[in-house]
Symmetry: C2
Subunit: 453 residues, 2 copies
């Protein structure tokens, strides 16, 4: 009975080995940057009680419920667990659970899979990897940590082999203070409308500000003016002041955003543009100050690939409140489209830099000795699977992208030889001293610039 | 309303940051060893169709079923997905799905979480990390790959900072051939009984061989004799021959096991003892030749922490069969008990080697410049959260285990100074050249030998 292979599950991207090597290298780079800044790694379990997942009031996330197969039929529904849909909810629970064992302010990074049962679409997956950094305090979290997380993530982003990124920063106090200052009747509704500005036209936003948020024509025009401000320095302050609106919270928001902008200036020149973008509102209600979004050049339709902000209550146990500030990079959202478009690829599909050939199956041990000598000096090496003709062994290396084939000495007085199978150059070599060029030692990330617009 | 923090979920171990740093370092070490031997990394999605998970006939695994919360109430049961309980089932599916894009023999490693709804007990968790290596071929997989996976895993295990390990190897052909040779009436039943030898006494096994496997007294005694053979070299061959049983499959099994034992000799002297242990049967039916188990010295009650073997059909699409050989390390099973017992720990709870102190909040920028200079040379550095008195800043470093506190120059002509807060030594230093000793640069794994027996 001839059957076919299984089909992929929509929304669950899986990578071929070459792409996975690229992803792993990128994640290792993120880890290095985060650790250089003192962020400690944690992982949390994949499951949380469903009440905790839905507890934030944000019930439009499609949660995956989990229960033991034997229990599914019984529809026993009280002990419900669900897969986490982000890393913030489990982190908040981890902080509460381990508060007595952690030192505050606690800096952590966390790189894990998350799951959402959403309809799959470009940039939205049912399983995806997030990389989060957060700083959380017990009681009071000084404002300079807002600058710190922005600056650390900007440095991490700047090191990525991806098209240019734009880190967009705003402050909810600024928007909220402005709306208070103009006398908006329903500030939350107005914020929600402003949050739509990258999806619909200014005309539509103006209309919604009037119909959904109850603003007058003049108030709506003011709103569109402030939300249209976008600067790469602190000149947004003067522009907002020029609109003639006065409010203490607005002043606080302006001052905070100016500090974050100054703190990020020059952190990652060229690769990551940092902008004050006053239309960034973030839909989520728990942000209380600084907010971040990030766009990938040429992939604006993906939405924000790296978002976050300040929340004055990340967690609370009823006695103590834990404020936090953090930012979360959508690793899958960023990388999967770049793999699909061939913008990111690995220079080869295996870690191996060298394939050690074999004259015949009896000499497998000789080849193994050579391979161990190379590995002892950090050179990833495999041994030919079969003692085929040398031409066949070379082609097997070629198909995997392995750059070198090693021919062990076949007699005591003979020399080992190594062939660069790309150039065909073959030279005598000693397995205890030979080294490939640095660029051939490990698989390299090939980053193809996008076609010019 | 005063409420308490959430309680941990039994069976879902979560690590504090120090322990997680140790786990991450150990996993990085495994990755290095696997990649040096040409194994490419892959990850598979967490979910598989339930039919695929239960398809192997091994239905006593407690599978976690997953469905969107909205669907739970409707009890819609056809599109069922479940969380994978190991990495072999998803790997087999990945091979079939991507067969046209992979080069065979395909060497992969895979380090991911798995889930089982089992009753939690020592060494058995509901969520746990596995690290697997496998080599899979299309059509035919030469026997030397059995030697290769054993030898690679032995090298990986030898590098672990854990108590001594014993890699136990057998071959199902040997046992099966022996049982054929003595005329056992139900070979599968006899194998299952032999598999219990590390849990029950030889007397009980002898009894079960008679009652459950239908062996005569003489056959049962023979079985106990062969299953009692354990050697660190190939002398098991002569011992088995001495039992006077003749069978072609037995000869094949003896020859294969001898080759694996010779191939592993001297791979990891001292740290990982390699033994031929003829009672190892592995309950799972899909193993067809070489089988592996591994015991941790002092933790024998955990059972095998690293197991695997040869399966002549890892996967099949009805036209092509993919034989494989692999071995799977239970990372959580190995490490979580060692963390709990204090045998493994990190030298500090944060990556930071240096805390840069601050004279006052106005000098935060000065401290940031020092921190960036240190980070640029790979020194993990954080800046004091608050400009408290120096004594308080030093104690904050102490609580995290940060070994050095840096005092930036407070005037243009003054020198920077750095203090080793363990010894109290304080010296002038330049942020562009100073380096801590290698041992202080990154958190070290502190491995405490077990108390002597």
């Amino acid at each position: 009975m001839a059957t076919h292979g299984p089909a992929p599950l929509s929304g669950f991207p899986e990578l071929l080995p070459g792409d996975r090597m690229v992803e792993a290298q990128i994640i290792d780079g993120l880890r290095r940057t985060f650790e250089l800044h003192g962020f400690a790694p944690i992982e949390t379990r994949a499951m949380e009680p469903v009440e905790r997942l839905t507890g934030g009031g944000d019930v439009d996330k499609e949660i995956y419920a989990v229960r033991r197969l034997a229990e599914v039929e019984s529809l026993e529904s009280d002990a419900g667990l669900g897969l986490h849909f982000d890393l913030t909810v489990p982190f908040a629970r981890y902080v509460l659970e381990n508060a007595g064992k952690l030192e505050f302010p606690f800096r952590r990074y966390q790189i894990q899979k998350c799951w959402r049962g959403e309809r799959p679409q470009a940039g939205r997956y049912r399983e995806f990897t997030q990389a989060d950094i957060d700083i959380v305090a017990r009681g009071d979290l000084p404002f300079h940590h807002d600058v710190e997380v922005a600056s650390v993530m900007a440095q991490a982003l700047a090191a990525l082999p991806v098209p240019a990124l734009r880190l967009q920063i705003n402050n909810r106090k600024l928007l909220q203070g402005f709306l208070q200052g103009i006398g908006a009747p329903d500030i939350a509704a107005a914020m929600r409308v402003i949050d739509k500005m990258d999806k619909v036209s200014a005309n539509v936003v103006g209309e919604l500000l009037r119909t959904d948020a109850g603003l007058s024509d003049k108030q709506a025009r003011s709103c569109l003016e402030v939300a249209g401000i976008r600067t790469t320095d602190t000149s947004f302050v003067a522009q907002v002041r020029g609109l003639g609106v006065h409010d203490d919270l607005l002043d606080e928001g302006l001052a905070e955003l100016a500090v974050v902008m100054e703190g990020c200036a020059g952190v990652a020149p060229g690769r990551v543009g940092v902008e004050a973008d006053l239309r960034i509102a973030r839909g989520l209600d728990y942000y209380t100050g600084t907010v971040f979004e990030t766009r990938l050049s040429g992939y604006e339709s993906l939405g924000s690939i790296c978002s976050g902000g300040r929340y004055d209550s990340l967690a609370s146990d009823g006695r103590t409140t834990y404020p936090g500030v953090g930012i979360s990079l959508g690793v899958s959202r960023l990388l999967v489209p770049l793999f699909a478009d061939g913008i990111l690829a690995a220079s080869r599909s295996v870690p191996s830099a060298v394939l050690v050939a074999m004259a015949d199956e009896q000499s497998r041990h000789t080849s193994a000795v050579v391979a161990q000598a190379l590995r002892a000096r950090g050179i990833s090496t495999e041994i030919a699977a079969s003692a085929d003709k040398y031409g066949k062994q070379i082609r097997s290396a070629q198909r995997r992208g392995i750059p070198y084939v090693w021919f062990p000495a076949t007699a005591p007085e003979a020399a080992h030889e190594v062939k660069d199978i790309r150039s065909g150059d073959q030279v005598a070599a000693d397995p205890n001293t030979w080294l490939p060029p640095e660029v051939d030692l490990t698989p390299q990330i090939i980053s193809t610039p996008q076609p010019a617009e």
